[in-house]
C-alpha cells in the first residue's frame, strides 16, 4: 500500500508530499523525502518498552509502573524543569504546560538553544515575515544568511525557493537570484549567484554596512567590512533593491554567534530598510519539525514563547535566567522531565553535570545521550508515523500530521495526561 501526501515530521519544512510504501504494517519505502526523511521513516532502532533504573541496572517495565514512577518523582519536586517539546505534537505541548503550571515548575523548549535569540529580537522590532507559499510564488531574490539549507533543511530550496517554480516565476532556477552569506563555503554557497564569506563574528558589522549602503550612506563604509569588500556589499545592496520581492532566511549562524539577538535585530532592520525600496521579508529557518509549535502553544497558554517559570504562581519570563541552560548550570532544578529532546548531547557539559544529581524522566521513542542520566524513560508513538498530531511549519502554518501505521505505543499526550492525573490524585489524597 502506498500512502500519499504524508507530512515529514523531521525538520521545520514539514514537507507534505511524501509517498510512503507500507507492507505488512511496516514502512518499506519513502518517495520524495530527503536523506533525513528516509532515516526517520525507515529507522528501525527504538525503545520498545518503558524502562526504570534501579541502582546500576535498568529494567523493562509496563506503562502504568513507569507513569507512576514519573508522577512520584514530579510530585515530590520543588522546582521541576520541563524541557524539550520541539519534537512532539502540539497537543502534548499543551498538556506539558498544564503539568508545569500544576507543579509550579519551569518549562522551556529547545528554542532557547536555537532561535531563542530570534524571538528576543522579534519582541524588540517585530517580524516582517510571510508564508513559504508567498516566497515560492513571488520571491525573485533569496538570501540564506548563516544557514546551509542543503544540509540542514535539504528540501527547502526545492520546495520553496531556488528550484521551486511558482505562480509568478515559471522558471524559478533562472529567474530567482540566490545570495548565501556564511563564514564557510557550504553545499548551499556552491549554488549561489553571490557568496559572501564573512569572518566569524562579523555578521553584525556586515548587516550594518548593508543598511548604510541601502540608505545611501556608502561613503562612510570602509573598503572591507569583516572580510567582505565594499564593492561586493554595494553589488549585493543593488541586487536587493532591484528585486521585485526579496526573502531573507536566517539560521543559527546568526543566533548562536557573537552578538546573538542583536544580529537578528539588525537583519530585521535591514529588511525594514529594504522594504522602503521594494518588498522584502525575513524568516527564521526553524530546525525541529514542531519547535515553532512549541513557541505558539506556550505563547497562547502563558503569554511567553519559552523559558517560563511558574514558581510565583503566574508565568514569569526572563531568558538568561529562566532558560534551561541556566537552570541546570545553577543546579536549581530538583527534577528534570525531558520530552522528545536530548539536552545531554546538545548542551554544554557544565549544564549536563547536574543531570547526574537529580531524577530524570524522559519521554522519547529513542535512546539518546540523556538516557545515560534517565531514571525512567517512556517510549511513545512517533508523531507523523504512528500517531497523528498538530505541528507548525517554520512559517507558522499549522498542519495536521497523519498516523500511517499502527503501533502499540501511547502518544506523548496520553503519557503526559496520565502523569498529570496521577499527580492530581496524589495531591487530593494528601
Amino acid at each position: 500500500m502506498i500512502k500519499k501526501n504524508v507530512i515529514c515530521s523531521f525538520c521545520g519544512c514539514l514537507c507534505d508530499d511524501l509517498s510512503i510504501t507500507i507492507e505488512d504494517g511496516k514502512i518499506t519505502g519513502v518517495d520524495n523525502g530527503c536523506a533525513l526523511a528516509n532515516a526517520k521513516f525507515l529507522g528501525k532502532e527504538r525503545l520498545l518498552k518503558p524502562v526504570i533504573r534501579e541502582g546500576d541496572s535498568i529494567k523493562e517495565t509496563e506503562y502504568n509502573t513507569a507513569i507512576e514512577k514519573a508522577a512520584d518523582i514530579l510530585k515530590d519536586a520543588e522546582r521541576p524543569l520541563f524541557f524539550g517539546w520541539s519534537g512532539t505534537q502540539g497537543e502534548a505541548q499543551a498538556k506539558g504546560v498544564h503539568l508545569c503550571m500544576l507543579l509550579g515548575g519551569v518549562i522551556d523548549n529547545t528554542s532557547s538553544l536555537c532561535h531563542g535569540p530570534s524571538i528576543l529580537a522579534i519582541q524588540e522590532v517585530g517580524h516582517p515575515g510571510c508564508t513559504l507559499g508567498q516566497v515560492k510564488n513571488r520571491a525573485d531574490l533569496i538570501i540564506y544568511w548563516g544557514c546551509n539549507p542543503l544540509e540542514g533543511h535539504p528540501r527547502h530550496m526545492s520546495r520553496y525557493t531556488t528550484y521551486a517554480d511558482g505562480f509568478f516565476l515559471k522558471n524559478a532556477f533562472r529567474e530567482r537570484k540566490l545570495i548565501v552569506v556564511d563564514v564557510r563555503k557550504t553545499m548551499s554557497s556552491d549554488v549561489a549567484d553571490e557568496f559572501i564569506q564573512i569572518e566569524p563574528g562579523g555578521d553584525y558589522a556586515v548587516l550594518s554596512a548593508l543598511r548604510a549602503i541601502v540608505r545611501g550612506e556608502e561613503k562612510i563604509i570602509p573598503e572591507s567590512v569583516s572580510g567582505v569588500s565594499k564593492s561586493q556589499l554595494k553589488r549585493v545592496a543593488d541586487m536587493c533593491k532591484e528585486a521585485r520581492f526579496g526573502a531573507l532566511f536566517f539560521g543559527l549562524g546568526l543566533t548562536m554567534s557573537k552578538n546573538k539577538y542583536k544580529n537578528i535585530r539588525n537583519a530585521v532592520e535591514l529588511t525594514d530598510e529594504l522594504s522602503r525600496h521594494t518588498k522584502f521579508t525575513i524568516s527564521a529557518m526553524r530546525g525541529h519539525w514542531n519547535v515553532y509549535g512549541a513557541n505558539e502553544v506556550f505563547t497562547w497558554m502563558t503569554g511567553y514563547p519559552y523559558a517560563i517559570d511558574f514558581a510565583r504562581g503566574i508565568p514569569f519570563y526572563n531568558p538568561g535566567e529562566t532558560t534551561a541552560a541556566e537552570i541546570l548550570y545553577r543546579k536549581e532544578c530538583d527534577a528534570l522531565m525531558v520530552v522528545s529532546s536530548d539536552p545531554a548531547a546538545h548542551m554544554p557539559k557544565k549544564c549536563v553535570e547536574h543531570m547526574a544529581d537529580i531524577p530524570v524522566i524522559q519521554i522519547d521513542p529513542h535512546k539518546n545521550c540523556t538516557s545515560f542520566f534517565t531514571d525512567v524513560q517512556i517510549p511513545v508513538a512517533i508523531t507523523g508515523i504512528e500517531a497523528s498530531g498538530t505541528a507548525y511549519r517554520m512559517d507558522g502554518v499549522p498542519l495536521r500530521t497523519k498516523k500511517i501505521i499502527d503501533a502499540d505505543f501511547l502518544t506523548d499526550t496520553e503519557v503526559i495526561s496520565r502523569i498529570y492525573e496521577r499527580i492530581l490524585e496524589a495531591k487530593a489524597d494528601v
Binding site: 523531521f10 536523506a35 533525513l36 532515516a39 526517520k40 532502532e45 524502562v51 533504573r53 535498568i58 538553544l113 531563542g116 535569540p117 528576543l120 546551509n148 544540509e151 540542514g152 535539504p154 563564514v183 564557510r184 563555503k185 557550504t186 569572518e199 566569524p200 563574528g201 572580510g227 543559527l252 549562524g253 543566533t255 548562536m256 554567534s257 557573537k258 546573538k260 523559558a307 531568558p319 538568561g320 535566567e321 532558560t323 534551561a324 541552560a325 541556566e326 545531554a344 548531547a345 546538545h346 548542551m347 554544554p348 557539559k349 557544565k350 549544564c351 549536563v352 543531570m355 547526574a356 544529581d357 529513542h366 535512546k367 539518546n368 545521550c369 538516557s371 545515560f372 542520566f373 534517565t374
Partner: protein
Amino acid sequence: MKFEMITGRTIRQGEFVEHKHSAEYSEETSSCHINPVDMMFLGIMQGDTILLKSVCDEVVMTAFEDSNLKRGSVFVPYGPYCNRIIPNETHGTGMPDFKSSVVAITPTERKVASVYDLFKDIGGREL
C-alpha cells in the same frame, strides 16, 4: 595553535541524530574540520587525532581536511563532543556560544572517546 570553533548541522549528523549510540554518529560529531594550511602548521594529516582545549575542558577529535574553511576557524558537527568544551556562559540570553568559542588544538596520540565514555565521568550510566 588557537582557533575559533564553529559548530553546525550536517546531513550525516541529522541522519544519525536519532541513533546517538551508533558508531556513525560518534564518528561524525567527533570530526573536526580544519583548513589544510592550518593542518600543515599543526603537523597533522587527515584522520590523525587532535586534542581540543577550551577554557572549561578538553576533548579528543579526528582531524578532517576542509578547504571550505578560512584559516583560523574549525568546524565541528553539532553533538556531545563539541559540547564537552563549549562554555556554559550565555551572556544573559540563554544561548551558549555554540559558534564562537576559542579552542587550542594540538596533535595527540590519545583515542577518540565513545559517546558513553564522554558522559561516564560526569555520572552518566549505561542504558
